[in-house]
Amino acid sequence: MTATFTDRSPRFIRIVRRIPVWIIVGILLVVVVYPLFWLLTGSLKTQEEFLNNPTWALPEDWTNFDNYVEAWTTGNLAVYIRNSVLAVVPALFLTIVFGVAAGFALEVMVWKGRGPVLLAFLAGIMIPGQMILLPLFTIYFRAGLTGTLWPLIITYTAIGLPLTVFMMATYFRSVPREIFEAATLDGANIFRMFWTIGFPLVRNAIFTVALVQFFFIWNDLLIALTFTTRDDLRTIQVGLLNFTGQFGQIQYGPTFAAIAVNVIGTLAIYLFLNQRVMKGLTAGSVKG
C-alpha cells in the first residue's frame, strides 16, 4: 500500500483493471433494473396499451392509478396480504427456532445416531412438494383444520425445516469446537450455552436462512392453492391468479399493480432484514 504512493503507473493500471468490473456492474444494473422499471410502468398502463403498444412504450398517462384501485378492490389485495403475513410470519418463526435448536443438537451435542437423523432431515430437501399433498390434505381434513390458515402454517414450517436444520448444522460445524468444550469446563448449563454462546455465533447465518425461507414460502403457490378454498383465506400469490380469466384472458394492468404492491412490500422486508444481516456480520467479526 505505502510503496505505491510515489509511483503513478500501478495506480493507473489498477484503475484500468477496474474498468471491466464496472462494465459488469453496469450491465448487471441494466439487466436487473430495467425489468423492474418495466413492471412499475406496466402497472400504470391500460389493457389497450398493453395489447397495442410496443413492449417498451411508456405509459400514456403517468397518473393513471386505476389498476391499483382495481387490484385493491376486485383483487381483494388487503385480505390476501394479511393472510400471507399471518401464514408466513408464524411459520418462519417456528422454522427458525426449531431449526436452530435441532441444528445445535445435531452438530454440537454428542450422541449416537445423529448422522442418520441429519440424513433424514436432509432427505426432506429432496422430496417434491407435490408428493405429500394428498396425504396432508387427508390429515388436515380429518383433523378439522381445513377452512383455517393452520394447514399453511404447519406445512410451511415443516417444509422449511430440512434446509434450515441442514444449514444451521453446517454453520455450527464451522464454529471451533473448543468454544463449546471450554464452556462445558466452566460448568455452563447446556440451554444457557445454546442461548448465550451458540445462538449469537450463528446470528448472521440465521438471518441469511430466514431470508431464504421467507422468500421461499412467501412465493409458494402449490401449497397455498391446495389448502385454501375460501377467498378470505387466499394468500397473495394465489390472489394474483384472480386476474386471469376462464379462457386464458389476462388483465395485465391490475396484475402488474398487484405485483408491484407485493414487490414493494417484500422489498421493505428485505431492506429491513438486509440491514440486520449487515449488523450481524460486523458484530460477528469478534469471532475471527
Partner: protein, 294 residues
C-alpha cells in the same frame, strides 16, 4: 464434558419439536404416498392394487425418458450457471466493491422477491415475436439478425428458461456466497498478498478452499432446487413446445392430478426423490471428506 454435551434430556428438548413436526408433516405423508405406488386409480375412482406395474411403466414410458433428460439437463446447466455467476458476483462484492456493495447487492437480489407468475410474464413479453417484437428481437434486428420465435423450438425455449431462472437466482446465490466469503479473516489475505499471491492465484488457493463449505451448500441447494423445478416451467412454457420442456415434477403433477393416475404419479415422485438423494449424498460425502482434509 460429554455429560453436558451428551445430555439426553437436552437433546430431546432441542431436537424434539423439529423432529416431531418434520416426521408428522413430511415423513409420514411421504411413506403414505409411497404406498400409492403399488395402486392404480385416484380418490374419485378408487384404488386398485397393481403390484409393481407402475414401476414397470416407468421404464417403458417414453415421456419419462424425455422428462428425465430435460430435468437433468436443466439441473446441470442452471446449477453451473447460477452458482458460477453468483460466485462471481460475490467475489466482485467482496474484493472490488467492498463497502459500496450494499446497493448493488440489494438490486441484484431483488428479482428473487418477484412472484414467478410475474417474472414469467415479463420474459414472455421480452422474448415475444408476435403480434409485435419483444425487446430481445428488436435488439437482434438492430444488429441485423432476424427475429427468433423463442418459444417455438425446444432449444430456444430452454435457453429462455435458463436465462429467466438465472436472472431470478443469481443475486440470491451471490448473497448466500457473500456471507461465506465475508467470514474469511482479512489477515489471511494480507499474509497471502505479502507472499506474492494475487488475482487468480489468490482466488484459487485461498478463496475457493476457504469458502468451500458454503459453496458446497449452495451447490446442494441449487441441485435440489433445479431438479425439482416446477413453478417457472409451468408459468413460462407450460412444458412446451409439445412436452419438450416438461420436467419430472410437472409430468408427475399432470399424471396425478390431471390424468388421475395417482399411483403412477407417486412412482414418478419416488424416482425423482431417489435421483435427488443420490446426487445430494454424493455431494454431501465429498464435502465431508474435503472438510476433514482442510
Amino acid at each position: 464434558m460429554n455429560r453436558v454435551l451428551g445430555d439426553w434430556r437436552a437433546i430431546l428438548v432441542l431436537l424434539g419439536p423439529a423432529l416431531l413436526v418434520y416426521t408428522l408433516v413430511m415423513l409420514v405423508p411421504i411413506f403414505w404416498s409411497l404406498g400409492y405406488t403399488v395402486f392404480e386409480g385416484n380418490p374419485i375412482t378408487g384404488f386398485e392394487f397393481v403390484g409393481l406395474n407402475n414401476f414397470a411403466t416407468l421404464f417403458t414410458d417414453p415421456k419419462i425418458a424425455d422428462a428425465l433428460v430435460f430435468t437433468l439437463k436443466y439441473a446441470v446447466v442452471l446449477t453451473i450457471a447460477q452458482v458460477g455467476f453468483g460466485y462471481l458476483l460475490a467475489l466482485i462484492y467482496v474484493f472490488w466493491l467492498r463497502k459500496a456493495s450494499s446497493l448493488i447487492r440489494t438490486l441484484a437480489f431483488f428479482p428473487v422477491v418477484l412472484p414467478t407468475v410475474a417474472v414469467a410474464l415479463l420474459f414472455q413479453e421480452l422474448f415475444k415475436i408476435a403480434p409485435q417484437n419483444g425487446l430481445v428481437n428488436d435488439l437482434l434486428n438492430l444488429v441485423g439478425i432476424q427475429s427468433v420465435d423463442w418459444f417455438a423450438s425446444p432449444d430456444t425455449a430452454f435457453l429462455v428458461l435458463i436465462l429467466m431462472d438465472l436472472w431470478r437466482s443469481m443475486g440470491f446465490y451471490a448473497v448466500l456466497l457473500y456471507a461465506g466469503l465475508v467470514d474469511i479473516p482479512d489477515d489471511l489475505f494480507e499474509s497471502a498478498r505479502l507472499d506474492g499471491a494475487s488475482g487468480w492465484r489468490l482466488v484459487r488457493h485461498i478463496v475457493i478452499p476457504l469458502s468451500l463449505p458454503v459453496l458446497l451448500s449452495s451447490i446442494i441447494f441449487s441441485v435440489n432446487g433445479t431438479l425439482k423445478v416446477f413453478d417457472s416451467v409451468l408459468a413460462l412454457t407450460n412444458g412446451g413446445p409439445g412436452n419438450t420442456t416438461t420436467p419430472l415434477t410437472l409430468y408427475m403433477y399432470q399424471t396425478s392430478f390431471t390424468y388421475g393416475e395417482y399411483g403412477y404419479g407417486s412412482s414418478i415422485a419416488l424416482l425423482l426423490t431417489i435421483i435427488c438423494l443420490l446426487v445430494t449424498i454424493f455431494i454431501f460425502r465429498s464435502s465431508r471428506r474435503d472438510l476433514t482434509k482442510g
